[in-house]
Amino acid sequence: MIALVDYGAGNLRSVENALDALGVESAIASEPEDLMRADAIIFPGVGAAAPAMEALRTRGLDRALVDAVHRGTPFLGICLGLQLLFDWSAEDGASCLRIFGGTVERLPTREKLPHIGWNTLERVADHPVLNGMEGEAMYFVHSYVGVPQDRQLVAAETTHGVPFVSAIAAGSMVAVQFHPERSGTAGLKLLENFVEFARVQPPTPSPYPALPKRGRHVTGKGEGG
């Protein structure tokens, strides 16, 4: 069963609908136990980092997510679900899940922000989930981007005035800055790839074992990723 991480604010409905359309069963996961039992995890997120982290901590989902990733449960992060994997977000000073070393920064572009609309995947790494996605347009809506310390993590880039990381991958984990559930045929194909990847891939723990330290809780409003 694929677990959709529900921390109370993210809009899960569109991901759920997309999986339904693919004939794939999913279940809402709002308790740590739901993530322990999951065969695969999809972590969609919208909104700002600090309230999302706060909600995850309140439900004990932060710890459960990190544990699941370290067990090698196949994982797909979407939008904020990519950004929260890093150490820290400049959006509102939030301390994040610290699964990967790196930060979340405002996109240093002279183009308009938020970056809203369809843009192209470039330099796509050879990865089962991203197979055939080079040159495909996906739907983005965000102002902040993940900046990994380790460039090996980068699985795709996209250009909005400047190039930025639009997908990362390591072990059984994939995370994308765009919204596959809103990206038409190409997006549904990516979700289908992930479902298949989760089915055949033996659990591969993240090569970045880092225990999350409980960081300072800083709240503030953001502008939606």
Partner: protein, 264 residues
């Protein structure tokens, strides 16, 4: 099936301009009429949304044009069905007054809501919506009418009531309050099919950092090309040229591509 692709061209490394069909909905059907008169049935909104999505629409907008409270349930049912069948972003607008209504529509599956009259009457609605749901789902709709050469006034209540607000100032205020996008309609151009108001669109697009969706006046694909280049719009919304089959969406996007406008 996805076609095999080569490397990404330099020209492709940009955010594409969005083409957005607009569906006016009343009583659960897509209708078209002039200023709320002679409404003509155009079809089932979900079926039309699906068709436009297959033809390459980048987003969709549903405008609830009767916005009567008793019809709200019908609209929500349309939103839920669309969300189950269509996998591109869509915005819902028309008569939204408070954050509860925003919440209901987003939960039903809308990606964004567009607010207009209520935002003029109570600008805090933009701030509250952005804080609760994120700027990315708050579209501020502005209906503007030309007053002088470089001045446009904001109208509310379906373009009938002047607000006293300057359109460019209001667009800036909407951005400051957390609006994620501006849906800008020229009352003068709307329904004329004589092209978008390029001066208005350019003035607003240059005044704000957030994306501007141009609306009102599309009669030919060249009008979309003009507003997306000269008009500096980030997206172009149109209804009748797509609905009546004069310029199907696919053909329109091909025209734009052929004329150097970056579209998907």
């Amino acid at each position: 099936m996805l076609p095999a692709r080569g490397k990404v061209d330099r020209e492709q490394r940009v955010l594409f301009k969005r083409i957005i069909p607009c569906l006016d909905v009343a009583g659960g059907r897509v209708v078209k009429g002039t200023h709320f008169r002679e409404l003509r049935d155009q079809g089932d909104p979900v079926a039309m949304a699906r068709t436009y999505s297959e033809q390459g629409a980048d987003e969709l907008v549903f405008l609830d044009i009767d916005a009567a409270p008793q019809q709200r349930a019908t609209l929500i049912e349309v939103v839920e069905r669309t969300a189950r069948e269509v996998f591109i972003p869509f915005t819902v607008g028309g008569g939204i007054r408070d954050v509860d209504e925003i919440n209901t529509l987003l939960r039903a599956g809308a990606d964004k809501v567009s607010i207009q009259t209520a935002a003029v009457q109570r600008p805090d609605l933009i701030t509250e919506g952005a804080r609760l749901f994120g700027s990315q789902c708050i579209v501020v709709a502005i209906d503007a009418k030309r007053e002088a050469d470089d001045r446009w006034q904001v109208y509310t209540h379906g373009g009938r009531q002047p607000s006293g607000l300057d359109a460019i100032e209001w667009a800036r205020a909407a951005q400051r309050r957390g609006g994620g996008e501006i849906l800008l309609t020229s009352i003068d151009a709307d329904g004329t099919r004589a092209g978008y108001d390029l001066a208005l669109t350019r003035a607003v697009a240059q005044a704000v950092q957030i994306p501007v969706i141009a609306s009102g006046g599309a009669g030919h694909p060249r009008d979309l090309a003009a507003v997306l280049t000269e008009g500096r719009a980030d997206a172009a919304l149109a209804a009748s040229i797509f609905h009546d089959g004069a310029y199907p969406l696919r053909q329109t996007k091909q025209y734009l591509k052929d004329h150097g406008v970056p579209v998907r």
